[in-house]
Amino acid sequence: MSDPEHPRSHHDMGGQPAGPVQPTEHAYVLWEKRVDALMVLLSRKDRRLLTVDELRKNIEGLGPEAYDKMTYYERWIHSISQTLIQRGVITIDELGRKIADVEQRHDRGEL
């Protein structure tokens, strides 16, 4: 076992104590499948607007509490957004405005 005094990133969990494996699964819902689809489309060779490495890095940067509390595809959409902002594909401003717009449309029953 390597030196326990050196910092270990929260996601790097091989060998850590943990509980029994619950063999649960859920049928993926549409928004999750769309997140997955966005990752596949953006990382494809003809676009290369995102790499799986950037996706992972941005998930790893979430910090332990967020990492544990967020669901798998919540972490992914967070990370896709971060990557696109880092790459300059979208700006924070336009993303913030669009999220607010989506929420308002949903409140009005238009989504």
């Binding site: 990133s9 060998g15 490495d53």
Partner: protein, 108 residues
């Protein structure tokens, strides 16, 4: 691949040691294997470095990637399975030193 690449220095059967280093950032060498010795199973190919790709850089120089096999009893102090049980991990060359050199350094 057009990316500049580091030549492969290890071959199947070589004993290697994972470097005992703990940098921050996006690293694909698991924490649990740092500093431990294993055996090269095979050269998987040469790939852009994920530590660099994670920051939207080119990943140069591409690193040889190896499947390295470790005995579980040497990885976990309390391992209670068969003494032959193993864990195979893909490790990039820049994380590996020849085991002989490391043994020699410890003896010196």
């Amino acid at each position: 691949m057009s990316l500049p690449a580091v030549p492969a220095r290890f071959k199947t059967g070589d004993r290697v040691q994972v470097r005992r280093a703990f940098p921050p950032g996006h690293v694909r060498t698991p924490w649990y294997i740092r500093g431990l010795a294993g055996t090269i199973q095979r050269l998987c190919g040469t790939y852009p470095n994920p530590e660099e790709l994670a920051y939207a850089r080119s990943g140069a120089p591409a690193q040889p990637l190896y499947r390295v096999r470790f005995l579980q009893r040497e990885v976990w102090p309390d391992y209670s399975g068969s003494p032959l049980d193993t864990v195979d991990i893909e490790i990039y060359q820049h994380w590996l030193d020849p085991a002989q050199e490391a043994d020699h350094e410890r003896a010196a």
